[in-house]
């Protein structure tokens, strides 16, 4: 067994063990912290599958932003942690559940083992048409050019998510701001950390977005890093979340999908197909769309984490 194979087996065992911890850990808080570790380990697995773009997304969104969301929720749910005895499942039900889950896992494992060595693939087609987009990263080309309708609709899902979360606000907080107010005296350690990290993080986020055209990276990954920076500054209470009724915020939330859709409709008129890009103009157009998408992701993710408005609106 080579070193790399040994590392693979070790990584697989580690991912499985941490996943088991998130299911069986004694308290929700411990389980949530386990989940963040799990996400980071999983991004290493993605690197071993040569899917660096996915690894970046998993680390930034799957582990990072989801981690903040879940840890915040676990902290606020303290006091509801213990399971009342009457809600716990009986031993027999647990046994049946375990049997069912083993069956599902075994069936999936069999499918994995029976997959042909060379599966059906769209890689040749992607590479063949890649020069027409002017991009160097085939994953970005699939996201923004070949399957652009998917990506646009996914932005719409994010906006719907924000609408859903905001709809859960209590009546008197309607249109108000989520999260904590700006602190008179921010906690010094957190404030120092946020002030040091945010400028560097913004630079990294913009860089990851920009290189995404040719290297691993792109709107999702860059936008998630930018979102994390805004979240850190809000957590340090150097600034506060905007009011849900703010016009600029609503504009920012829909800017990405709106520009994307407008470009798609324009393609129907100019380039002869819905979401078609005119030849030669594809790359600048793609970067233009991606810029707005990155901005929208950077605004949407913190709003989803911040939750429904919890302060009365200022008039």
């Amino acid at each position: 067994m080579s070193v790399l194979q040994a590392l693979d087996v070790g990584l697989a065992l580690l991912v499985f063990a941490v996943a088991a911890w998130t299911v069986f850990a004694p308290g929700p808080f411990a389980a949530t912290v386990g989940y963040v570790v799990y996400g980071l380990l999983l991004s290493l697995v993605w690197i071993r599958l040569f899917a660096v773009d996915v690894a970046l997304t998993e680390a930034a969104i799957g582990s990072g932003v989801t981690g903040v969301l879940l840890i915040g929720a676990a902290a606020r749910l303290r006091g509801a942690e213990t399971t009342p005895a009457e809600e716990a499942l009986t031993g027999l039900t647990r046994l049946f559940a375990a049997g069912l889950c083993l069956l599902v896992a075994a069936a999936l494992a069999a499918v994995v083992l029976l997959l042909p060595d060379q599966g059906p693939t769209l890689a040749p087609q992607s590479m063949e048409r890649l020069p027409e987009t002017g991009l160097g990263n085939p994953v970005t080309a699939v996201l923004i050019a070949f399957r652009s309708f998917d990506t646009m609709l996914e932005k719409v899902v994010l906006v719907l998510g924000v609408v859903g979360v905001w709809s859960l606000a209590a009546d008197r907080y309607w249109g108000g701001a989520p999260g904590e107010a700006r602190a008179e005296r921010p906690e010094p350690t957190l404030a120092f950390f946020a002030q040091m990290l945010a400028p560097i993080g913004i630079l990294v986020g913009v860089h990851v977005f920009w290189v995404g055209a040719d290297e691993p990276g792109g709107a999702f990954q860059g936008g998630a890093i930018l979102a994390a920076m805004w979240m850190i500054v809000m957590m340090a209470r150097l600034t506060e979340a905007p009011q849900a009724s703010a016009f600029w915020l609503r504009l920012a939330l829909i800017a990405g999908p709106a520009v994307f859709l407008a470009a798609g409709v324009a393609g129907a008129v100019v380039a002869g197909g819905f979401f078609a890009y005119p030849p030669g103009l594809a790359k600048p157009l793609i970067l233009f769309i991606e810029t707005f998408m990155t901005f929208t992701i950077a605004v949407t993710l913190p709003m989803l984490v911040a939750g429904p408005p919890r302060r009365e609106p200022r008039r």
Partner: protein, 114 residues
Amino acid sequence: MSSATLAGLVGAALVGLGLYGVIADPQPLRKILAFNLIGSGVFLVFGIVARKGAAAGLSADPVPQAMVITGIVVAFAASALAVALTLRLFEETGRATLRPDAGTKPPGDGAVAE
């Protein structure tokens, strides 16, 4: 066994683990966590389909990769909505339980004192 097959088997095991968590743990937050485990297991199984579709000088098929990236973002949006629902339930009833007959506090507007 190749590293891709190994990752696929991990994905299968994660789906099983997550499914058990969704069924067996009554707490909503734990169910959300377990549901995310199922999701990442499915993504991983899809990831090895991408790896097995390596061709044209690429080490993995870009189409499944792009779909997994989209999936991760959508899974996050769904988790955020589920967490918001759980927290609202907790504020309303003082308990985070999915049992319909759970005790309720006197009805208010659900606002917590800050």
